[in-house]
Amino acid sequence: MLPQILLEGVLIGGVYALTATGLTLILGVMRILNLAHGHLIMIAMYITYFLYTLFGVDPFLSIPVSAILMFAVGMTLQRTIVKPVIDAPVVNQMILMMGLLIFLENLAAFAWTHDYRALKGYGGIVYEFMGLRVVSTRLTAFLTALIITLTLYLLVMKTKWGRALRACSMDPEAAMLMGVNLPRVRAEAFGLGIALAGVAGSLITTLYYIFPSVGMHYIIVALVIVILGGMGNIFGALVGGIILGLVEVLTAFYVSSQLKLLGIFIIFILLLLFRPEGLLTKRR
């Protein structure tokens, strides 16, 4: 039984990593903690849900659609509310994001009610492998998340744009002096971060229910992953995601599936107590 649970944890963890990459990208480049990240994932989940129920689009095929739509949402948000507070005190930024989060949750509740929804009639084939069972949709979700995380890693580490991005996150002023268009790179990074939330949202619809307050779960998960993996660290997000995936399934199995966030919260407190700089960061 235990290997089966651990496998589930790793598969979910891959998708969780993706929720955190967008958050850590925005945090690294813009120094803004996007508290509404989970709720933007929730919006993407509804996009995927309606594409499936109304037009029969497979959730995996709706990834480009939700990514592009969420990129547009991200660019709009960045232009209207994020840009003005980029130099504001952290407290103001957090309150603003809290406002956005509450707005989005209740917008969704108003438009689509509080009902739990799931993709009706959508399921995968079950593979058996050495006594372990794997649902094909979970495997596909995991692999998709892995490929996208890897692509993002290469984009950030190997391309010219990625170098500009890293320069902006290390020293915005120096980057500007070197001819990097700082506002533009920041805007694109924010858009990309939200697009990643869109991808994550599409993948999560195949795993879990869709309802307005589901965003809280994913923002907590993503925050703890970012702390675990270190800020701005994409590889760290992957490791952190898999750790939290494991913690979650183990809590769900040994305690209760209703309290799976409790395990994650305990990890959060332990991290703050003993390794606030993250697991992968070297101690100074």
Partner: protein
């Protein structure tokens, strides 16, 4: 500030229930006091010490659940629960601060935000104790001052008014005391404060515990007034956002939350009363939008531009209060 600024409104508010006893009017006034108190309690930590809490609903809910559980199971009077609930809330605030306050940055904000969701899940999970998602009702025993239950609104009005007066005095006292100045020093620059010999960690914990205590007491009042609590009304996000909205709109100082609550509470309450339950989600959408608008357009709050305007138009004279 001169005495008449305090005395005249206090006397006016004390006589109000005698002059106007319409329940809706009293209800709105109770909520104006309620939210002003909530914002002031939040501001001890959030504004004075500059430590943002995004989940003061944790402390509120602990107070509320403590009162109702002690009442229904052990017949403890809610008056005593005010201290028990407040104490438990303070303990939670203290314990949660322990891992967060040694670190710089908004970890306390994240921890409170996460904890309020955890508390909501726990309240749903432990059905036997909390009544689960359905919530728990305070048994109706009619007019009973001993058990903090009244058939009319006026007694609740006076209780909430007294609580608010106490809160205002506490806030005023703290902000003028050594503790208040030390907290302000921490808010402005932690390193500088620490180099002056201020025990930053301990004082942040102290502020968190005081703030949480008064929030817990408010939770007890709430559950006695509405006679009902469920996970959503105790630990919901909107509950967490309420003191932040009032405080951000009103601005700093004792006056800020009072002005903020006087503006926003009647507006929202009247909207809810006239438009009904379906409006609940729209109300919260508006609250979210207000929060964003304040930060973008009026980050210092409404009070200082408002007083400037008043000073220009009215011949109030005098120096700054």
């Amino acid at each position: 500030m001169r005495a008449q600024y305090y005395v005249i409104p206090t006397v006016a508010l004390l006589t109000l229930p005698i002059l106007i006893y319409h329940p809706v009017v009293l209800h709105i006034f109770i909520y104006v006091f309620f939210y002003a108190y909530f914002a002031l309690a939040w501001a001890i930590l959030g504004v004075l010490a500059g430590q943002l809490s995004l989940g003061h609903s944790v402390f509120f809910g602990i107070g509320a659940y403590t009162a109702v559980i002690l009442h229904t199971r052990y017949a403890v009077t809610p008056w005593a629960s005010m201290f028990v609930g407040g104490g438990l809330a303070a303990l939670t605030g203290f314990l949660l601060g322990f891992p967060c306050f040694r670190l710089k940055g908004g970890f306390y904000a994240l921890a409170t935000l996460a904890l309020t969701e955890i508390m909501r899940l726990l309240a749903i999970y432990f059905v036997d104790v909390t009544g689960g998602a359905e919530g728990i009702t305070v048994p109706l025993i009619g007019e009973s001052p001993l058990y903090f239950q009244f058939t009319s609104k006026a007694p609740y009005y006076y209780v909430m008014f007294i609580l608010l007066v106490v809160m205002v005095l506490v806030y005023h006292k703290i902000s003028g005391s050594k503790l208040g100045y030390q907290l302000q020093a921490i808010r402005e620059d932690e390193d500088a404060a620490s180099s002056l010999g201020i025990n930053v960690f301990l004082l942040k914990l102290k502020a968190a515990a005081i703030s949480a205590f008064f929030t817990g007491v408010l939770g007890v009042f709430y559950v006695q007034y509405t006679r009902f609590i469920h996970p959503e009304s105790a630990f919901g996000l909107w509950r967490a956002a309420e003191p932040i909205i009032i405080s951000a709109l009103g601005g700093p100082g004792v006056l800020g939350p009072l002005v903020g609550s006087s503006i926003i509470t009647p507006t929202l309450e009247v909207l809810v009363i006239t438009l009904g339950g379906r409006f609940a989600t729209v109300k919260m959408m508006i609250q979210g939008a207000i929060l964003m608008a304040i930060i973008l357009k009026m980050p210092t709050g409404i009070t200082s531009p408002l007083t400037r305007l008043l000073r220009k138009t009215l011949p109030l004279g005098g120096k700054k209060p």
